[in-house]
């Protein structure tokens, strides 16, 4: 990832409206984010957001401190300063009506972590899963061939090795069926 980007990972409670709260915060504070992805984790009650921020246009510390203020946000960490893996996925549909174009596509797929996932008479879909920079390069290579449709997932990231970002938090069981001491009941 280029130096003017910061990747921030937030663990949030998996509750309705949490994404809305984060989006509303960004809107209200006039933050610009390059990408924001949300997905499940190995725990049903915890979701994980990966947020890529342009540090030239934003004060990242402010964004992190404001994220922490949201009641449903469990934990926020910067990843960019630590060894980490980050992946972006793109599906790119290119026009491959002639053999030249098709050969060009296969060449690109050989040189980069990209593969053809759908092939028709007129168009081919290329899937590329890599760091954002590499995805960017692949798209640039495919562009002259003729891109007709494209979608990217945005970046997901994880610290390398034993840098584990997880939470011990268990939600309170409001139905109170099985008692579990002073902290209420665990689901």
């Amino acid at each position: 990832m280029s130096e003017n980007k910061q990747t921030v990972v937030a663990l949030v409670e998996n509750k309705p409206g949490v994404l809305n709260r984060v989006a509303s915060l960004f809107r209200r504070r006039n933050y610009n984010v390059d990408s924001l992805t949300v997905g499940r984790t190995h725990k049903a009650h915890v979701s994980r957001m990966t947020i890529v921020i342009d540090v030239e246009r934003n004060d990242v510390r402010q964004i992190v401190e404001n994220l922490k203020k949201l009641v449903n946000v469990i934990d926020v960490k910067y990843l960019s300063n630590e060894p980490h893996i980050s992946r972006d996925l793109a599906l790119v549909k290119v026009r491959t009506e002639n053999a030249d174009a098709y050969n060009h596509v296969t060449e690109v797929c050989e040189r980069y972590p990209a593969r053809i996932v759908d092939m028709g008479h007129e168009v081919t879909i290329v899937e590329v899963t890599a760091s954002s920079a590499v995805v960017e390069t692949v798209i640039d290579q495919l562009r002259p061939i003729g891109i007709v449709e494209m979608v990217r997932t945005g970046v997901v990231a994880m610290g390398r090795g034993t840098r584990i970002q997880d939470t011990q938090y268990e939600p309170v069981n409001v139905r109170g069926d099985q008692s579990n001491g002073s902290n209420g009941v665990l689901i």
Partner: protein, 568 residues
């Protein structure tokens, strides 16, 4: 015990120590209004507009430090609360708002009086909840109060669908503590930062304390005073910090900022150290950020880490509760003197004194400054005043010095006209032993004057002082200074306020000259219940000094000295 959702709401409010709530009924909240009849311990105040309910809850909370509660129905009832929630949000006031919502099966169908209330209030609350399961209800209310009153306090809204209010379950109160995994309201200051701050304080030659609302919210007035006296450090207050240090204290410089004292603003620009305690460097107190306090190192203590380095870059930033942090600082702070600095400050103060309108004015008619200063005099400086927004607000800040914390309530961050009168009603409910004065403009009063009926119905002893200048005064001032005197949409026709009061059954008095002010205070004190006094003041007065928006803080437009000509 088998209880309905509505009864659970009431049970939970009781357990939070709620004794009064301000609200207005309607279809989606009716089950809860019905349940209220079984809980006479909690007094319900029927307002005349839900905005009034939210300001009353806010005024109650500011006056007492407890959570204020307001309640309204779905749709229009809930949207009417929004201004009050935004007001409380900007000034970090703990309020819990309860709203009825259409029944769960109807949500999303544009049902009658359906509004996405959690959506609408998301940016103007600290947090909000849409209850989706009756089993969550009690815990949610408990969590809401916890969130409202912990850390940097703020308003929290709970939206409860009508079918949940009606549903019944076997109720057990969640006695266990609230668990919020990522929420850290109580941050502890780093010992190194504390030591660094002490070093800066001990080394400074021209230090200055900027004290804000945080001093009051944290209950750190004693600590502030000790810090100032120990280091002989002068103190300037934000509008919301008033009462943080008694304003007759020799180290008090009065308010800072756009209409602050010239002494405070000069001191900020000339200081070599700013110690900012529980304030947030709002643009109304900094002026031009590029030239702000150019010679000063800065220490900033705030309970909210996101405030540190937000507007002003600081040398030492400490996130924590002020009372604790000042207690940590105190042992490291050496006795100081700063004689040369105090000498310079006294010179500025003398210059201010010479320009004081109370000493220089000999025109026709009363000035708002005279009225408010006389009110100060005749109430012994001990009233709990609640202002509205405008010139009278700034004049109250300048001419009614307060000695005690939380005796001057005002909408600072949002600057909400219409706040003053209902907030004063709320304050009086919280502090019945205080002499409460709502000091309002003729414009702002008309925004929420329907609450006169509420005051009568509740026989609440609030004194209303209308400072009537026949204009939207503060806007008129801007038009005079920055829009070449084009007075558009600021001259204002008002009702006969005394007759209006009479129509509500409220005793009233019109004061047109200074000699009557003493009498008006006596009159107000003689009435048990609401009373209205209209002070007819000079129409075209200007609040000085003034830092024009975005100007350097010490480039104030000053009131001319006697014999001087105004140069704007």
């Amino acid at each position: 015990m088998l209880l309905s959702g509505s009864e659970i709401v009431m049970e939970c409010l009781l357990r939070e120590g709620v004794d009064v709530m301000f609200g207005y009924p309607g279809g989606a909240i009716l089950p809860t209004y019905d349940a209220m009849t079984k809980y006479p311990q909690i007094h319900h105040v029927l307002v005349r507009h839900e905005q009034g309910a939210s300001h009353m809850a806010d005024g109650y909370a500011r006056a007492t430090g407890k959570v204020g509660v307001c309640i309204a129905t779905s749709g229009p009832g809930a949207t009417n609360l929004v201004t009050g929630l935004a007001t409380a949000m900007m000034d970090s006031v703990p309020v819990v708002a309860i709203t009825g919502q259409v029944p769960r099966p109807a949500i999303g169908t544009d049902a009658f009086q359906e509004t996405d209330v959690t959506g609408v209030t998301l940016p103007v609350t600290k947090h909000n909840y849409l209850v989706s399961d009756i089993h969550e209800l009690a815990y949610t209310i408990k969590e809401a109060f916890h969130v409202a009153r912990s850390g940097r306090q703020g308003p929290v809204l709970i939206d409860i669908p009508k079918d949940i209010q009606n549903e019944k379950i076997d109720f057990v109160y969640p006695e266990y503590d609230v668990v919020l995994p990522g929420y850290q309201p109580n941050l502890v200051a780093d010992a190194e930062d504390v030591a660094a701050a002490c070093r800066l304080i001990n080394e400074a030659e021209r230090p200055l304390i900027l004290a804000g609302h945080g001093i009051l919210m944290s209950g750190a007035t004693t600590q502030l005073r000790e810090l100032a006296e120990r280091g002989q450090i002068p103190v300037t207050l934000t509008l919301l910090g008033k009462g943080g240090l008694p304003e007759d204290h020799p180290l008090s410089l009065g308010m800072m900022g756009m209409h602050g004292t010239a002494t405070s603003n000069n001191a900020i620009q000339n200081a070599d150290l700013l110690i900012a305690l529980g304030m947030r460097f709002d643009d109304r107190v900094t002026g031009n950020l590029k030239t702000y306090a150019p010679n000063a190192k800065k220490i900033h203590v705030d309970i909210d880490p996101s405030e540190l380095n937000k507007n002003v870059k600081v040398d030492v930033g400490i996130a924590g509760d002020l009372r604790t942090v000042i207690d940590q600082l105190l042992p490291g702070v050496e006795a100081g003197a700063h004689q040369a600095w105090m000498g310079q400050i006294r010179e500025w103060q003398e210059d201010c004194d010479e320009r004081d309108i109370l000493k220089t004015y000999n025109g026709e008619g009363m000035l708002a400054a005279q009225v408010i200063n006389d009110l100060w005099h005749h109430t012994g400086g001990e009233a709990l005043t609640v202002t509205d927004v405008g010139q009278h607000q700034m004049i109250e800040a300048q001419y009614y010095p307060h000695r005690r914390p939380s005796t001057m309530l005002t909408s600072g961050g949002l600057g909400t006209m219409g706040f003053g009168f209902p907030a004063a009603i709320g304050a009086k409910f919280g502090k019945p032993e205080e002499e409460v004065w709502a000091i309002v403009g003729d414009g702002g009063f008309q925004m929420t004057m329907c609450e006169l009926a509420t005051a009568v119905q509740e026989r609440i002893n609030v004194n209303i002082a209308i400072i009537n200048n026949g204009f939207l005064g503060m806007v008129r001032q801007w038009q005079e200074m920055f829009y070449e005197e084009r007075y558009h949409a600021t001259p204002m026709v008002s009702p006969d306020f005394c007759k209006l009061a009479e129509a509500f059954g409220i005793p009233a008095m019109r004061v047109t000259n200074r000699e009557q002010v003493a009498e008006s205070v006596e009159f107000a004190r003689s009435v048990d219940g609401p009373v209205l006094i209209e002070y007819v003041v000079q129409k075209e007065d200007i609040v000085y000094p003034m830092v024009p928006t975005g100007a350097d803080l010490d480039k104030m437009i000053r009131r001319p000295k006697p014999g001087e000509v105004q140069t704007v």
